[in-house]
């Protein structure tokens, strides 16, 4: 797009937007606010923003002391805790780039990311040392490892070297740091997207992008110093869905989940209630499990006013309604992506819709991903790239552009295909937008099932399956078929007390919402459904596993 110069009075370089400013300036106001980490032994560590900010300055000095300079990249392999939060500011604040590393990647992928980023150092949790060890032989450029541990370095068993202790480095460093005044286009952090095909792609977020996005998100989600934010989303995932930055922008109380997996959700749910959490975020699977915990509580927690961002895939209406009925807390349906700096839509009710729609219609509306945040240009386009009307019917690929939307993959030949010439990011998701501006994701472009020249939406079918009381999880993929090109296959995980449900019953249930020809030819009951490292359905794996299943038909 050609930039047109208007009447420009101030010719000097603009005051540069540095992310550290959110906390450097904010600390004037919320130094005493609390930050909590759930430790591995279940106890809680508590300190304040003041303590945290001092340690961020120590960290910046410490990083300098071992030779890390402005522009250097540093990889992070860590759970959600206050040290990770310190790194979110201390590291990019001193001018280096925080490369968030996904714990769930296999060594080949992880080492690819590390080498591609050119990271010089790795900061790693003690109990994730084996992840670093698995990639160390493949990452020759790494100059050292900083271990986050309460133990003495000499007590650690590892072949990593050289190693430093995070705590020792901080103890030795000065508690005051004179933050550099960075060009706002300098990278703040990088996240690599692990798509279903090809190598991970590097999304580098500039200070400017994160700074502006933080203000927008804080405004849009009305986050304030009165909020208590529970950081469950892994902090390596799209900057923790931006919640750490919004917290630091307004001084919200922060609760870090520590190391956790699905089996810890009972404990996390109780922690959430105890600390009076008002904001959190997770994929539907997590909230489903928390909901199960809440359902079994004798006394239901009062979460009135609390808002839980839920995205990655569509949260079932039974979950949203159940959560609301049991606790008063609201599941806010959202949609985003690594390239979109996490949150692209939020499903909020507008005051006039609250008046006009019936309760059922409102719940129905919550199935949509929500309205697109201001700041973002959005287009839905057909296969030729023509913009489609926002009529709630036409569905096409979603293109995004805006002050914080990625416009390039670092050093990647995938950039060309993934971004348009006029700066739009091609999401690869298909959707429609209704006249009120609500986006509905209809499919991943590549997940649409083509059967006999007609389309079947795998996402619609998954959502319908998930609305069945007896079904815990479901996935639908298109499998090559000799006659129809592709035919749908459904994988289903049944709930414990519904194991007797059979294929026919499910087909009956689906037939209320789908044409006969759209129904899956086979429904397979499984114990779990393959997911990617960030919790999305891994359709690549499913297609691979079941690729021959319709051959003989």
């Amino acid at each position: 797009m050609k930039v047109i110069k208007g009447f420009i009075v101030d010719q000097e370089e603009n005051y540069q937007l540095n992310v550290i400013n959110h906390i450097r300036q904010g600390i004037r106001n919320f130094a005493r606010q609390e930050i909590i980490t759930r430790k591995n032994d279940g106890t809680l560590f508590r300190y304040t923003y003041k303590d945290s900010y001092e340690r961020m300055q120590r960290l910046a000095n410490a990083l300098q002391s071992i030779g890390i300079k402005v522009g250097d990249r540093v990889g992070i392999i860590a759970w959600n805790h206050h040290q990770h939060f310190e790194i979110y500011y201390g590291l990019p604040g001193m001018g280096a780039v925080m490369v968030s590393l996904n714990l769930n990647l296999i060594p080949e992928e992880l080492s690819y990311v590390i080498n591609h980023s050119g990271a010089k150092y790795i900061i790693v949790d003690e109990d994730l040392i084996q992840v670093a060890e698995s990639v160390a032989p493949l990452c020759k450029a790494i100059e050292g490892y900083i271990i986050i541990t309460d133990n003495n370095l000499s007590d650690l068993k590892t072949n990593l070297k050289p190693i430093y202790s995070y705590e020792e480095l901080l103890n030795k460093a000065s508690p005051l740091f004179d933050w550099p005044y960075l060009d706002e286009d300098s990278s703040y952090a990088a996240c690599y997207t692990t798509g279903t095909t090809g190598k991970p792609k590097g999304v580098y977020y500039s200070h400017r992008e994160v700074y502006i996005h933080t203000l927008m998100f804080t405004a849009k989600f009305s986050i304030s110093v009165n909020d208590v934010i529970f950081q469950m989303v892994p902090m390596f995932h799209v900057l923790g869905w931006s919640l750490p930055q919004t917290s630091a922008c307004v001084g919200a109380k922060l609760v870090f989940s520590g190391k956790w997996n699905l089996s810890d959700l009972k404990e996390l749910t109780y922690l959430m209630v105890k600390e009076k959490v008002t904001i959190s975020a997770a994929v539907p699977t997590v909230f489903m499990a928390m909901y199960e915990v809440i359902r079994k509580m004798d006394e239901k927690p009062d979460l009135k006013g609390a808002r839980f961002l839920c995205g990655g895939s569509e949260p079932p209406i039974t979950l949203m309604k159940g959560f609301w009925d049991e606790t008063g807390g609201e599941i806010v349906h959202t949609y985003g992506s690594t390239e979109g700096l996490a949150i692209v839509t939020l499903n909020y009710f507008k005051p006039w819709l609250k008046k006009e729609l019936t309760e059922d219609e409102l719940w129905d509306l919550k199935k949509k991903q929500g309205t697109i945040n201001s700041g973002i240009d959005i287009k839905i386009v057909d296969e030729e790239g023509n913009a489609l009307p926002h009529d709630g019917i036409n569905s096409g690929e979603i293109l995004l552009r805006g002050p914080w939307i990625t416009r390039t993959y670092y050093n990647s030949d995938r950039t060309k295909d993934s971004f348009t010439d006029d700066g739009f990011f091609r999401t690869g998701d298909a959707g429609s937008i209704d006249s009120e501006g609500y986006l509905k994701i209809t499919d991943r472009i590549k997940d649409v099932i083509k059967s006999g020249g007609e389309w079947i939406s795998s996402i619609d079918m998954e959502n319908t399956l998930m609305s069945h009381t007896g079904i815990l999880e479901a996935a639908v993929v298109g499998i090559p078929h000799p006659k129809w090109e592709e035919r749908p296959l459904a994988l289903v995980v049944l709930r414990e007390s519904f194991k007797s449900i059979d294929e026919e019953e499910i087909r009956q249930y689906l037939s209320k919402s789908f044409a006969k020809w759209q129904l899956p030819d086979k429904i397979i009951f499984v114990d779990s459904i393959p997911r990617t490292s960030v919790g999305k359905l891994n359709k690549k794996v499913m297609r691979m596993e079941y690729k021959g299943i319709y051959n003989g038909i």
Copy 2:
């Protein structure tokens, strides 16, 4: 400040921040939201954001049709109404600069502003034509006048020429406009500050500054689509204290006050209650008058949750407490300036202070101007420019710097004195900052009274006077004194039923808070206190009027 380049991945020009985007993109979500104007005849005009946005596009086309181009300046002489709101977007959106003209300036000042800005056109309300006429002979460069009127041009009696009808221009124009993609450093609007000395100084706000400030303010003040914003602050005053932009950012319902003065406040108060206003802003005098109206209502309105920004001078605690007790609405003490893009501080209670302080202590805290918004660097400095500690005791000149703080006056030799080399704006206000970050304005640097080498704070004394039940308004100025250099003089306006109060009683009252030598030598009872065009105490005039009063002593 030297900018340091970090690791920069995306070398292309950034997505430029254009203010029009807030509404261009937002309209997807809040097209149906309502906008209301109180018309001169007391009736209400209602339309929607959708209607407004269409008219913004018509306006942009209309401006082009009469030859206004990107970069041109256009002066606005108008009350608060929906057309003024259309101008806020349509005019800068098409690349011209909106020069806000203060209705209260004398012709010499107003023509200076118009000529200094290089404005080509003036847009003026029909009932303000005489203002335009008074400056027309002094503003030879003006090429035409656009009159906002419901009447036919031929029915207007005016010697302005050429003239255009705002409505006719819009009717003829296309309802679709392809907004230019402006360099974000292009000026969005200009406001001229009318200081107590010298010529008005031109503050030009860039699109970038207004865009980012809008997000910050929306976030900090938690403004949402559920809010109803009552625009009473004149829209020519620091962009209407930024409320129009925040409204358009989230699609809040907007109510414009129309033409009004203090005698209309009964009607405005009833309108505020009827339209369920949740946010408004004004100087203390206005809220004092509204409070008087509310006190006389038989049934007190329920304004629970409503927040009223109050700045310009300190709102008396009796007002803040009274408002709260009668309505549940909160007066939020604020501080700002034209150069600070209106709002620099907001007085919010932090959750921990709400727990720790007694009710009286909390009310006492509300006398402070509030915590400084994030984004802003603040320093308080002594006369040598040394930074003073934030201990709540030391007081010095307040310096501000940040992404939306002005760094230059357009084409003015005052720039040199008013801004520091490292980019701070010298506010000319003195203040202290306590350990919780609350700013307390202690004085205008030039309003401090020097008596026998000691300082007396005129602001402290004014606030104390205002806390007296019988006093409606008060001002304290330093008057030259043969012996003491300066001595304080107090001007006092008594409330209707307290006219019997005498000088001695007031001196008694003051002596509870001030040393004997600090008490004003004279207290003069007046019917009103001189104010500047933006409603601030006009101490220049007072000093002039009473300059000889202590000569014979």
